[in-house]
C-alpha cells in the first residue's frame, strides 16, 4: 500500500509544508491555555488556530460543524490535494477515521444543555455534532466521497488499526484509495483529566526519551494519509505490514526508528526494548503535542523523510538512557523507517515504511 498524499492540521498549521518547516526548525514553545479551576494559572498546550488560516472557503462549507469536524475536513482536503490524484465518478475512495476521544467538547456542550435547560430543551444541532462519526460525515459531504466511511475509536493503536483495515480494503477491492486518518481535540475537561492523571510539562517540553517519569503537553489536530494500491507520481513511501500486539520484525533492516512516546503513559520504558544501538531514534511529539493518535503524525514524518531522503533531528534530545538519537537534520539515504507505539500493557504496534 502506497502513501499517495498526506494532509494535516496541527498547532504547526495546515499542510505538509508547515509540518516540514517545523521539523526543520525544531522545538518551539507551545501556547498556553487557562488551567482548570482546581489549580488555576496557565497550562501549555499545542492548539490548532483555525482563525489564523488564510483560506477559509472550506471552513465556510462546514460552518455548522465543531472543531473536530473542521480539522478533519481540512486535513482530508489537504491530503487529496497533496496526492494530486485525479478523481472521476468511478473513483471509489474510502474514509477511515481513528479517534481516541471524538468530539468531546461538543459532548460536554450537550451536557451543558441538559443541565442548564432540561431534557426537553436541548439543541438538536449540538447532539448531531456530538456523535463520533459526524466528523467523517462532514468529510464525505464536503469532499463528495461516497465510498465506505468508518470511524473507529480506541485509546491506543487506533490509527495503526485503521491502517491495517485500509490495507485490507485496498487488497479486497472495496476502494481505489483510502483516506486513513486520525483526529483528536483539546478541551478543558479532558485537559483537567490529563493533568490530574498524568504529569504536565509546565515548561511545555515533552521529553520522549526520558521514559520514566514522563510528562505530557496536550496537543490536538488531524492527519490523513491518502493510501493507494498503486504508486503515483506523488508517492511518499510504501507501507509494509502493520503489526499490532505482535513482535517487531527485527530481521527487517531499518534506518530510523520513530517512537510515539509523548508522556501519555506514566511509564514509557517499554520503548527502550524496541530501540537498538544500530538504528537512530527520533520522536516528534514535542512538535505537535501529546495525543493518543499521535502516531499518525509520526508516520507522516517518516513518510516525508523517505520521500525527501532527508532526516530531521529529534526535536528534544534529553537522553538519560543513552539512546542513539537522530541528532542531525540533513540529506540522508533512507530505505526503511519503523514507527513504533506502545500501550500501557507494554504491547506494541509497528508501522513499517519503505522507500519507493
Amino acid at each position: 500500500m502506497m502513501i499517495s498524499g498526506i494532509g494535516m492540521i496541527s498547532s504547526l498549521g495546515l499542510g505538509m509544508s508547515r509540518f516540514e518547516e517545523a521539523l526543520r526548525n525544531g522545538w518551539q514553545r507551545p501556547s498556553e491555555v487557562p488551567a482548570h479551576a482546581r489549580t488555576g494559572g496557565m497550562l501549555p498546550a499545542y492548539l490548532v488556530d483555525l482563525a489564523s488560516l488564510p483560506d477559509k472557503s472550506l471552513l465556510k462549507k462546514v460552518r455548522r460543524s465543531d472543531k473536530v469536524s473542521k480539522m478533519l475536513v481540512l486535513a482530508a482536503s489537504d491530503a487529496l490535494t497533496n496526492s494530486g490524484i485525479e478523481r472521476n465518478a468511478q473513483t471509489r475512495i474510502g474514509i477511515i477515521v481513528a479517534t481516541a476521544f471524538g468530539p468531546h467538547v461538543t459532548t460536554f456542550s450537550f451536557l451543558d444543555d441538559i443541565l442548564d435547560h432540561g431534557d426537553a430543551a436541548v439543541s438538536p444541532t449540538t447532539f448531531s455534532n456530538s456523535v463520533h462519526n459526524a466528523a467523517a460525515s462532514y468529510v464525505s459531504m464536503s469532499l463528495n466521497i461516497k465510498g465506505p466511511t468508518l470511524t473507529v475509536t480506541q485509546f491506543r493503536f487506533t490509527f495503526q488499526a485503521a491502517l491495517q483495515l485500509a490495507q485490507i480494503w485496498l487488497d479486497q477491492g472495496r476502494c481505489d484509495h483510502v483516506l486513513a486518518g486520525a483526529v483528536d481535540e483539546y478541551g478543558e475537561v479532558l485537559g483537567y483529566v490529563a493533568d490530574h492523571k498524568l504529569t504536565t510539562a509546565r515548561d511545555g517540553r515533552i521529553t520522549p526519551f526520558t521514559f520514566n517519569p514522563t510528562c505530557q503537553v496536550p496537543g490536538e489536530g488531524a492527519a490523513f494519509l491518502l493510501l493507494s494500491r498503486e504508486r503515483t507520481a506523488n508517492t511518499y513511501s510504501e507501507i509494509g505490514p502493520v503489526r499490532i500486539n505482535s513482535a517487531l520484525d527485527t530481521n527487517e533492516p531499518v534506518d530510523l526508528a520513530i517512537i510515539d512516546a509523548d508522556g501519555m503513559l506514566p511509564d514509557e520504558s517499554a520503548y527502550r526494548t524496541s530501540l537498538s544501538a544500530d538504528v537512530p531514534a527520533a520522536a516528534y511529539s514535542p512538535l505537535f503535542g501529546s495525543m493518543m493518535i499521535g502516531s499518525a503524525f509520526n508516520v507522516a514524518a517518516g513518510a516525508l523523510m523517505l520521500k525527501q531522503q532527508m532526516t530531521y533531528a529529534t526535536p528534544i534530545q534529553d537522553n538519560p538512557h543513552g539512546v542513539r538519537l537522530l541528532t542531525e537534520t540533513g540529506k540522508a539515504r533512507l530505505g526503511a523507517v519503523r514507527c513504533i507505539g506502545y500501550n500501557c500493557y507494554a504491547e506494541q504496534a509497528e508501522v513499517s515504511l519503505k522507500k519507493i
Binding site: 462519526n133 466511511t149 468508518l150 480506541q154 483495515l165 479486497q172
Partner: protein, 392 residues
C-alpha cells in the same frame, strides 16, 4: 473481491425481546412488545423505551451497562461456538457502539462544573471500558481489535470489518457485533431531533411517528471454514457479503434517493455472488421514522421488488443504536436457521408512498439468503448478506 464466506458458529443476543435467542424467538412468536417508561434514569421525557429488565447478576458491572450487555452476548456466542479457550487461535474482536465511546457522564460533568474538580471514577471506567479493547483483554484474544463508532450502523460495520479481517487472513476467528445501553444523553438527543415516538414505534406504517430507543447487544462468532473444521464444529449459517457506502448528503437525514443504501446493498450482493432474486428476506433498519422508512422501503422495492419478505425487528427491541446491527444480524442468522421470521411488530397500515410493506405475521422462509441493513447518522449505510448452507 474473494467470495469465500465465513461460518457463523455462535450467536448471542440480549434485548428487551429476550435474554437469549431462545427467549427472543418465543417473544417473536407471541408478538409481545416489552416497552415501557424509562426506569434507568430520571427524565421528564415520555417516549417509551425498550429496556433490558433482567440483566444476569453475574454480568452486572457498576457504571458499565453497555459492557455488561456485551459480555452476556459474547459469552452466549462463545458457548454456542464451543469456544471456551481461545489460546492457539488468532481471534479478532470488532464491536460497534455509540454510548461506550463517549464520556457522557452527567454526574461527573456536573460536579466538575460546580467545583472545578470531580472524582475520576467515571473517567476511569470510560478509559478502561473501550468495548473491543475490554472484551479482547478479558478473553485473551490476541488478534486485531476495533471499536466501530459509526452511529446506528456501527455493529453492521463491525461484522463487515470482521468478515474483511477473516478473508484477509488477519485472524482465524472473529467476535463481532455491538452493544449499547439506554442512556440519558442520546435519549434527550433523539427527543430534540423530534423523532422520538410518544407511543410505540410502527416501522413502515403509514401513521408512524418516530422511533423508540432500546438497549441490548448482539454478537456473532465468525470463523473460517478451515478453523471450524479443525475445531470439529459446523454451522448452517455463513456470512456471505458486506457492503457499505456513504450518502455524502446530510448529517442526519438519508439521501432521498437512497444513493448510499443502494450502493451498499449492491456491494453486499456482489461480494456474496448472488442476485437480488435469491434473497429470502431483509431484516430492514426500519426505525419507524418518516424519512428512514420511506427511503429504505423505496430502495428495497426498487432492488428486490414489491413482493420481498421484509420486516423490522425494532418493534420488538426499540432502536438500540450502535447495537442494532449486531442484534439484527443475530436475528437474521436465526431467521435463516429457523426458517421463519416474525411479524414486523407495530405495522398495521400500509403507506401508499412506499411500494413495499413488511410482513404482518410469522412468515416461513425457504430461500437460502437474507440481508440485514443499517442506515446511520452521517449518511453511512451498511448491509450484510447471510446464507444457509446448500442442501441442508
Amino acid at each position: 473481491m474473494k467470495k469465500n464466506s465465513m461460518l457463523v458458529t455462535g450467536i448471542g443476543v440480549i434485548s428487551a425481546a429476550g435474554a437469549d435467542i431462545a427467549e427472543t424467538l418465543r417473544t417473536f412468536e407471541q408478538g409481545t412488545r416489552n416497552a415501557g417508561p424509562v426506569t434507568l434514569f430520571p427524565t421528564a421525557l415520555r417516549s417509551p423505551v425498550f429496556e433490558v429488565k433482567h440483566l444476569p447478576d453475574a454480568y452486572y458491572l457498576e457504571g458499565w451497562r453497555t459492557l455488561s450487555l456485551a459480555l452476556v452476548a459474547v459469552d452466549q456466542a462463545l458457548h454456542e461456538a464451543r469456544l471456551s479457550d481461545l489460546s492457539g487461535f488468532r481471534v479478532g474482536v470488532c464491536m460497534g457502539t455509540t454510548v461506550a465511546s463517549q464520556l457522557n457522564a452527567l454526574q461527573f460533568y456536573k460536579t466538575y462544573r460546580e467545583n472545578g474538580q470531580a472524582p475520576m471514577t467515571s473517567v476511569d471506567r470510560f478509559l478502561k471500558g473501550n468495548l473491543a479493547e475490554y472484551i479482547a483483554r478479558r478473553l485473551g484474544a490476541r488478534g486485531p481489535q476495533l471499536s466501530v463508532v459509526n452511529a446506528c450502523s456501527s455493529s453492521t460495520d463491525a461484522v463487515g470489518v470482521a468478515l474483511s479481517w477473516l478473508k484477509s487472513g488477519l485472524c482465524d476467528i472473529a467476535i463481532a457485533g455491538g452493544s449499547d445501553e439506554l442512556n440519558h444523553v442520546p435519549y434527550c438527543g433523539f427527543s430534540s431531533l423530534g423523532i422520538a415516538n410518544p407511543g410505540l414505534c410502527a416501522p413502515f406504517d403509514r401513521d408512524r411517528q418516530g422511533l423508540n430507543l432500546g438497549e441490548g447487544a448482539g454478537v456473532l462468532v465468525i470463523e473460517t471454514r478451515e478453523i471450524a473444521r479443525k475445531r470439529g464444529v459446523s454451522s448452517l449459517i455463513s456470512v456471505k457479503g458486506y457492503g457499505t457506502s456513504c450518502d455524502a448528503y446530510h448529517l442526519t437525514a438519508p439521501s432521498p434517493e437512497g444513493v448510499g443504501l443502494r450502493a451498499a446493498l449492491q456491494d453486499a450482493l456482489a461480494e456474496a455472488g448472488i442476485g437480488p432474486q435469491e434473497i429470502g428476506f431483509v431484516n430492514a433498519h426500519g426505525t419507524g421514522t418518516h424519512d428512514n422508512d420511506l427511503v429504505e422501503g423505496t430502495v428495497l422495492a426498487d432492488l428486490f421488488g414489491p413482493d420481498l419478505v421484509m420486516l423490522s425487528t425494532k418493534g420488538f427491541t426499540g432502536h438500540t443504536l450502535g447495537a442494532a446491527g449486531g442484534i439484527e444480524a443475530v436475528f437474521t442468522a436465526a431467521g435463516l436457521r429457523e426458517g421463519w421470521v416474525p411479524m414486523s411488530a407495530g405495522f398495521t397500515t400500509r403507506d401508499e408512498a412506499i411500494r413495499i410493506a413488511p410482513v404482518r405475521d410469522k412468515t416461513a422462509i425457504s430461500k437460502r439468503f437474507a440481508l440485514s441493513t443499517s442506515l446511520a447518522f452521517g449518511g453511512t449505510n451498511a448491509a450484510i448478506v447471510f446464507g444457509r448452507e446448500a442442501g441442508l
